[in-house]
């Protein structure tokens, strides 16, 4: 807040008027329908007010009249870029409520799919960040690689983007032969493209000038606002739910948590958030390799799926590490087969709240980049 006052003092001496610009619901950048009301003084941004709700579909209310099984397609459609992670959080919450323990094969499959989706999500995040900065080519390279991941998931579950594949207690269908080779192929291709993109985009001087020292988010501000995921880790805070509160079988794998170190620019700026995502792609590749090596191919994936899901009266809150941050589900059950209330703590919703704080004092062109580096998806913000 002191930043804002400083701008008022300096610029009040000049006789310039502040303009209110509407960065309207339709963006050329691919973030979805979000309206930003920006107050600009020449080129410097003094205030940003985000208006959301353009994509509100009232999922949470509607899910109160569906059975626990029918809720899963709706959960997919929240963060539609990395849908498996949404389903996994919900299914883990239900399994905790019901007290079910799933077989080994199911755990490994879920981990592999979640990490594949994490790579897919970060590919889009880095690609659209480059697009906002004006580099058109990395966008297409990343989408070409993302196709490989989507083909694997289509062969597994039947759909490209909204899978409806995880069930309470197992999976919907068994793995297909050739799954392990496909995953290793993807890992190889992702590593190759990442090396290229480091040269083409990330270490490019023009890109560094655009994104370093822009949108600096100090660590204490990030923690106070409740940010999570790469937004928090880019500010230097080493906090990841897969290591700090491990769920499923994450404690069996050997991987690091990348943190923004300020190699270029300052810790907490856009460049560091971006590089955290690139490094996380590499860590996901490591996890996939280890999981593919350890996964058993025999076993029934539907063994522990109950015929009718009727949990006892109670409530549960479960949180897991989405690619964008910390997604939480609060499920209240009243003993019937329909939930009493499902509330989703949307990652992007909380991360977006930090935008007005970190964009004051920067130029208008930087505002677009800052929004891109927070990496929101409107399905999760509005639900």
């Amino acid at each position: 807040m002191s930043e804002k006052k400083r701008i008022e003092l300096e610029y009040s001496q000049l006789d310039s008027e502040r303009m209110r610009i509407n960065v309207g619901p339709q963006h050329p950048s691919t973030h979805g329908v979000l309206r930003l009301e920006v107050e600009v003084d020449g080129e410097i941004v003094t205030e940003v007010v985000p208006h959301m709700g353009y994509l509100h579909r009232s999922f949470e209310k509607y899910c109160e009249q569906l059975t626990y099984l029918q809720v899963i397609p709706y959960i997919d459609r929240m963060d539609y870029i990395a849908a498996i992670n949404n389903e996994w959080t919900y299914v883990l919450g239900m399994e905790k409520l019901l007290g079910i323990k799933v077989p080994e094969k199911v755990e490994y499959m879920r981990v592999i799919m979640a990490e594949l989706n994490r790579i897919a999500n970060h590919q889009i995040a880095v690609a659209t960040f480059g697009l906002d900065a004006g580099a058109f080519t990395p966008f297409l390279f990343f989408f070409r690689d993302r196709e490989l991941i989507i083909w694997i998931l289509e062969k597994l579950s039947g759909a490209r983007l909204l899978y409806n594949y995880l069930r309470v207690g197992g999976l919907a269908a068994d793995v297909y032969p050739g799954f392990k080779e496909d995953c290793l192929n993807v890992v190889k291709q992702v590593r190759k493209t990442n090396a290229e993109i480091m040269d083409l985009l990330i270490n490019n001087k023009i890109f560094i000038q655009r994104s370093a020292n822009v949108g600096i988010l100090p660590a204490d501000v990030a923690i106070n606002y409740g940010c999570s995921g790469p937004v928090l880790r880019g500010s230097g805070v080493k906090y990841d739910l897969r290591k700090d509160e491990p769920y499923s079988i994450y404690d069996r794998f050997d991987f690091d948590i990348p943190v923004g170190k300020g190699e270029v620019g300052v810790i907490g700026d856009c460049w560091n958030r971006n590089i955290v995502r690139v490094y996380e792609m590499e860590e996901s590749c490591r996890i996939i390799e280890q999981a593919v090596a350890q996964m058993p191919m025999e076993g029934d994936v539907k063994a522990m799926v109950p015929k009718k899901i009727k949990p006892p009266v109670g409530e549960v809150y479960f949180r897991a590490e989405n690619p964008k941050g910390d997604l939480g589900f609060y499920i209240v059950s009243n003993g019937t087969d329909k939930p009493e209330r499902i509330k989703a703590r949307g990652t992007s919703f909380v991360n977006l709240s930090v935008l007005p704080e970190i964009s004051q004092g920067y130029m208008f062109a930087d505002l677009i980049l800052i929004l891109g580096s927070i990496d929101i998806v409107l399905g999760e913000v509005d639900r």
Partner: protein, 350 residues
């Protein structure tokens, strides 16, 4: 200077030959613009591992015609509160500014529309008319995004004209003439006679070669800024300002802006070729040299420069406005001054 124009010898100096002289480069520019549009689409696609337009004609070669037809058949809209006269004139002013520079560019040793002694001076003067067209377009649209885009564009063009002029001035000092045809003739012979490599002279010129190479690069970068191409396309930056100064234009006026941008690209490529890369001279000495070969070499080298401009567009991200100004004023300008001094020193000592 006698007029080295074959049309004058052929038809005499009358209205017919003057009309022909004026329209021949126009025909060339129009055909070139179509080819450049196709090249941009195809090259950008191949860099991004896709195929580009493939359906319009075999391998998509009729795509530019399809685009032009699409633009021509659109409704001609003028916004209600816009300044009608300026709004309608702006695209044509910009195209005039781009096309008028063709008056002094030599296509071969027997064809230059106007062989004047201050050719380079004329080119720089008339090039500013283009930025006048941009300001007219941005102001007359009555749209705050267009105005912002137009202001940024004009600031950019004016700032980058100075390093470009310094680069050209150094070559003028080397060649002791502003006449483009003379500068061209002086580079005849093998390719080491080009001004890129220090101009015609003995081996004693080796120490001026780094300076001329740097000057060529400075001129190339400034030319990217003159034509609003990436990495300097803030005026058209899609992520921020919708479409900059041509937000409110559609149909044939937008086609005119489009054409003017491509024509501008070729103008700066042609000047770069003429001054640094030997113009219509063959790089192999007397092999393939002649009035008709000259046209081929000129267009070939110009098109290569245009291809490099397209290549850069799809590789680099965009500059921010203040970084763009920093680059122009604080980096390119001092370096061009230093090179100018070095070349003047060389000429004095020669």
């Amino acid at each position: 200077m006698e007029n080295t124009n074959f049309l004058y010898e052929l038809l005499g100096k009358n209205a017919l030959s003057i009309t022909l002289i004026v329209t021949l480069p126009l025909v060339f520019v129009l055909i070139y613009a179509l080819i450049a549009i196709l090249a941009e689409l195809k090259v950008s696609a191949w860099i991004q591992e896709r195929l580009g337009p493939m359906r319009t004609g075999p391998w998509g070669i009729l795509q530019p015609i399809a685009e032009v037809v699409k633009l021509l058949q659109k409704e001609d809209i003028t916004p209600d509160k816009a300044n009608k006269l300026l709004y309608n004139l702006a695209p044509f002013v910009m195209f005039t500014g781009a096309y008028a520079a063709f008056a002094v560019i030599p296509f071969s040793e027997r064809f230059v529309p106007a062989d004047i002694n201050v050719g380079l001076f004329y080119v720089f003067a008339i090039g500013s008319v283009g930025s006048l067209g941009i300001v007219m377009g941005g102001w007359a649209s009555n749209n705050k995004y267009s105005l912002m885009g137009a202001m940024r564009s004009v600031a950019q063009i004016i700032s980058y004209e100075i390093p470009a002029a310094m680069a050209i001035l150094s070559i003028v000092v080397l060649a002791s003439s502003m006449n483009l045809q003379e500068i061209n003739s002086a580079q005849s012979g093998w390719f080491w006679n080009w001004y890129l490599f220090g101009g015609p002279g003995t081996i004693g010129k080796w120490w001026v070669i780094p300076f001329t190479v740097i000057l060529a690069m400075i001129y190339f970068i400034s030319s990217l800024a003159e034509t609003n191409r990436v990495p300097f396309d803030i005026p058209e930056g899609e992520s921020e300002l919708v479409a900059g100064f041509h937000t409110e234009y559609g149909g044939i006026k937008f086609a005119m802006f489009f054409f003017a941008e491509y024509a501008n690209m070729f103008v700066v490529a042609a000047i770069l070729t003429t001054i640094f890369l030997g113009g219509w001279n063959s790089p192999f000495g007397d092999l393939m040299q002649g009035p008709i070969w000259g046209v081929f070499w000129f267009i070939f080298k110009g098109f290569l420069v245009v291809l490099v401009q397209i290549w850069i567009r799809w590789t680099l991200p965009r500059f921010r406005v203040d970084q763009l100004m920093y680059l122009g004023w604080k980096i390119l300008l001092p370096i061009s001054f230093v090179c100018f001094m070095a070349i003047s020193l060389y000429v004095m000592l020669k």
